[in-house]
Each structure stands twice: as structure tokens, then as C-alpha cells.
């Protein structure tokens, strides 16, 4: 099942001579359990694509479906509920609230959605435990390392029954070892059935995805074919 679908989505800012086509006739479908990376240089429309996919912004033309539901048919409140329940966001700068502990940050979307404190607490501890953060649950963000903060952000993005994970340069501020750890966690979430979209200019990050879509000047220009098995890398010729 397609968890996210963009159908001929365009986003245009301004008009006349000042018109900017941030996105132009973009089609994208992400199945449950798949990770798709969107690669492109600055200004190619990556972040716009992500905000439209996450219903934070409306397309000028075209349709966005999350879990088969067209966003254009939803009220503002319905969209907010969809964002709280179904969509998790991971940002480069973590976006954790400094006055809340790790557990409270992760719990926030559940509590905003009306979950009981006991139910929220259980879900939060499970998410933190899966990310190796159970011992750090009562720490504040400034008491955590960069890698730990990003893991808290991922826990917040996947807690509850989120089915769509949207990430904007999720390991941008981390070193390569911590960046790899973040991608392993996102990959693990996909194996549990979550659909993920990662926008990045970093090929090492994008290479974790099942499919890489290339964006240039607001248009999808290309995409990778499904990767061959790693055995093709181990050809005897390499011993020459």
C-alpha cells in the first residue's frame, strides 16, 4: 500500500516575472516499509517537497495522499490530527524543546493527541528503549550528546502508531558514526512497516534508501533502479 503519494504536485510562489516554481509536476509514491531518499542541491525543492508531504503547506496544483487519504479533502483540524497521529518529523537541528526531558519531548505528540499519561508513558519508554535511551529518559536536551538528541528526535517521530516518517537532513549535524546510527534506526523503523522520506544532499545518507529520487529545479529528473545484491561488488576481478 502506498503510504504517501504525490500526484502532479506543483508549488508556485509569487506571480508574473517574480514567479518561482519551487516544485513542478512532481509524482512520488512511497510504499509502507520503504525508504525513499530525495537528493538535490540547495534550492532544488527538497524541503518544499517535504513540507507539502507532511501537510505543513498546501500544493498550488496537484494532490497529496497520506495513507490513501487525500489531504485536500481534510479540514484544518483533521490535518492537524493526521500530523499528530500518522506523521513523524526529524529535522537536522533536532527541534527538541529545551525545557522538557527526553521522555517528555517524546511524549508530547501523544499527550497533545489526548492519550492518557499512563498509555503515553508506556509507549514513550518502549520507543526510548528501542533506541538505547531508556537510561537517559529523564535528562534534558542540553545534558545529551548530539547523537543522543537526534535519537530522541527519532523516538518522538516514531512513537505511537506513526506510519510516515519525514526527515530533513537527519544526520546533518552529526559525525559519520552517529549519522550511520541514525540511518540504522530509521531503517529499522521501515522494517517495522513505516514509510520514510529522507531529503538530503548527502549521498552517504541517501544510499541507505531503497530508492533515490533526484530533484533539480523543482522537477524529478531521475531515480535509481533497485540495487543489485552486494555479491555483484565482490567480483574476482578486484583481486587483480
Amino acid at each position: 500500500m502506498s503510504m504517501l503519494e504525490l500526484r502532479s504536485v506543483s508549488k508556485v510562489y509569487g506571480a508574473g516575472a517574480a514567479e518561482v516554481r519551487a516544485l513542478w509536476e512532481v509524482n512520488l509514491s512511497v510504499e509502507a516499509g520503504a525508504m525513499v531518499a530525495v537528493m538535490g542541491p540547495s534550492g532544488s525543492g527538497k524541503s518544499t517537497l517535504l513540507t507539502i508531504a507532511g501537510s505543513l503547506e498546501d500544493p498550488t496544483i496537484g494532490e497529496v495522499l497520506v495513507g490513501g487519504v487525500a489531504l485536500s479533502g481534510l479540514s484544518r483540524n483533521d490535518k492537524a490530527r493526521l500530523r499528530r497521529r500518522s506523521i513523524g518529523y526529524v529535522f537536522q537541528d533536532f527541534n527538541l524543546l529545551p525545557g522538557l526531558t527526553a521522555a517528555e519531548n517524546v511524549s508530547l505528540p501523544l499527550e497533545l493527541d489526548g492519550a492518557s499519561a499512563r498509555k503515553a508513558r508506556a509507549a514513550v519508554m518502549q520507543a526510548l528503549d528501542e533506541l538505547g535511551l531508556a537510561e537517559r529518559a529523564s535528562r534534558f536536551p542540553d545534558e545529551l550528546s548530539g547523537g543522543e538528541r537526534q535519537r530522541v528526535a527519532i523516538a518522538r517521530a516514531v512513537v505511537g502508531d506513526r506510519r510516515l516518517l519525514l526527515a530533513d537532513e537527519p544526520s546533518g549535524a552529526l559525525d559519520s558514526v552517529n549519522g550511520e546510527a541514525v540511518m540504522r534506526l530509521m531503517h529499522a523503523a521501515c522494517k517495522r512497516g513505516v514509510a520514510a522520506v529522507v531529503v538530503t544532499h548527502d549521498a552517504q545518507l541517501a544510499s541507505w534508501a531503497d530508492r533515490v529520487v533526484f530533484l533539480r529545479d523543482g522537477r524529478v529528473t531521475d531515480q535509481t533502479m533497485p540495487p543489485a545484491g552486494p555479491e555483484s561488488l565482490l567480483m574476482p576481478e578486484q583481486s587483480q
Binding site: M39, S176, H187, S207, A209, R216, D222, T224, P230, S239
Partner: protein, 205 residues
């Protein structure tokens, strides 16, 4: 990497047989570098000829013949470990040449050419990352080998990205520095450009 020095490194741990060397070589390189037995014995013969290893003189060539490193071999290994590999090769990378050729061929969109190579490199990186994800978490040697390959491919993609950006700027600002490629284009086909690069390289070296 040199098979010769890898075998010396393995023998520095103690005497070993040829087959044993082959198995340990493959294990230490994360099994991404298959080595045939013939290659192992040929290399061992050359090492023995050069006085860097000794063998059990009585035994015939074959699996029962043991090898050990000599004092000269240990010195050779220590020197090799600290000798930087040759990274000063002139800029005649095939991909760079393809992009330079595309830049001057009429009717060819060089940014499309760049994208073809970018996609191929990302697909290769996906394969390496898949290998790392599935097998390298508990295999340090393999993780190091895969990382090296990922960083190498990543650096090529970064160059393509940089070239792409430079071409975009040149297209929107023909009078800028990148626009100065025009005289070269009008001066003739690619062979004019490449000898000029060789001369520059020659001066540097």
C-alpha cells in the same frame, strides 16, 4: 593495497602455510578481496627470492610448505606501513575527461551526462551500504573496507555536484569566470584542452 605486503603482515604474526595465508588474507580484508591460491604461491616465491621470507627448504611446493618472515622482510613491512600511497597522479580521471568532453560537444547536455554518472555512483553506494547494513555491523574489517569505498564514491559525487553547480552558475552568468571556457570551446575540440592539462601537471611534478 599490495598482496606482497599483506602476506608479510600475516607472516609477522608467526610462520604459516600458503592456504592458511589465503584464508586469513580474505578474512582480514572483510572477504571483499578474493585471492586465488596461485597468486599466493607466486607472491611467496618472489618474497623468498628477495630474501623477505624463508620456507621449509625440504618440503616441495604445496600445502605442507611453511613460510616465515625474515629480518629484512620485517623491515620492508615497517617501511611500507609508513610510506604514503601515491595520491599525486595527474588529473586524467576518466570521469573528469568525459565531463570535459561533454562540455564541448554540440547537442550534449553536460548536466544530463553528470546525472547519469551521479545515479550510477549512488546505485553503487546503495549496494555497499546494503552490504554494510546486512553484514558489517559485527565485522570490523568489512566495515572499514565498505566505509573506504563509500567515502571514495561520495567524493566523486561531491565533485559532480560541484561541477553541476559551477555549470549552472556559468549558464546564468556567461561573463563570469566559468564563462571563460567559451574561448576554449571555440578554439577546437577536446584534444586541445587535454594537452594543456598535461603541461600544467608536468610543471607541478
Amino acid at each position: 593495497m599490495s598482496v606482497r605486503h599483506a602476506l608479510l603482515a600475516l607472516l609477522s604474526e608467526g610462520p604459516k602455510y600458503g592456504l592458511q595465508l589465503r584464508e586469513e588474507f580474505e578474512a582480514r580484508t572483510g572477504e571483499v578481496w578474493p585471492l586465488n591460491v596461485g597468486q599466493v604461491y607466486t607472491t611467496l616465491q618472489r618474497l623468498e627470492r628477495d630474501g623477505l621470507v624463508e620456507s621449509d627448504g625440504e618440503a616441495e611446493d604445496g600445502p605442507q610448505r611453511g613460510f616465515r618472515i625474515t629480518e629484512d622482510g620485517a623491515q620492508e613491512l615497517a617501511g611500507w606501513l609508513r610510506t604514503p600511497p601515491d595520491l599525486t597522479s595527474p588529473p586524467r580521471d576518466e570521469l573528469v575527461i568525459k565531463v570535459l568532453v561533454a562540455l564541448r560537444l554540440p547537442g550534449v547536455d553536460v548536466r544530463d551526462v553528470i546525472q547519469v554518472h551521479r545515479r550510477y555512483l549512488v546505485e553503487l553506494m546503495q549496494q555497499w551500504t546494503h552490504l554494510k547494513e546486512s553484514e558489517a555491523e559485527h565485522d570490523l574489517s568489512l566495515a572499514l573496507v565498505v566505509d573506504a569505498e563509500l567515502f571514495r564514491l561520495d567524493s566523486v559525487i561531491r565533485w559532480l555536484d560541484s561541477a553541476d553547480g559551477r555549470l549552472k552558475r556559468a549558464a546564468s552568468d556567461p561573463a563570469g569566470p566559468a564563462g571563460s571556457t567559451d574561448p576554449a570551446a571555440s578554439a577546437g575540440p577536446v584534444p586541445i584542452v587535454l594537452p594543456r592539462m598535461r603541461r600544467r601537471t608536468g610543471v607541478r611534478r
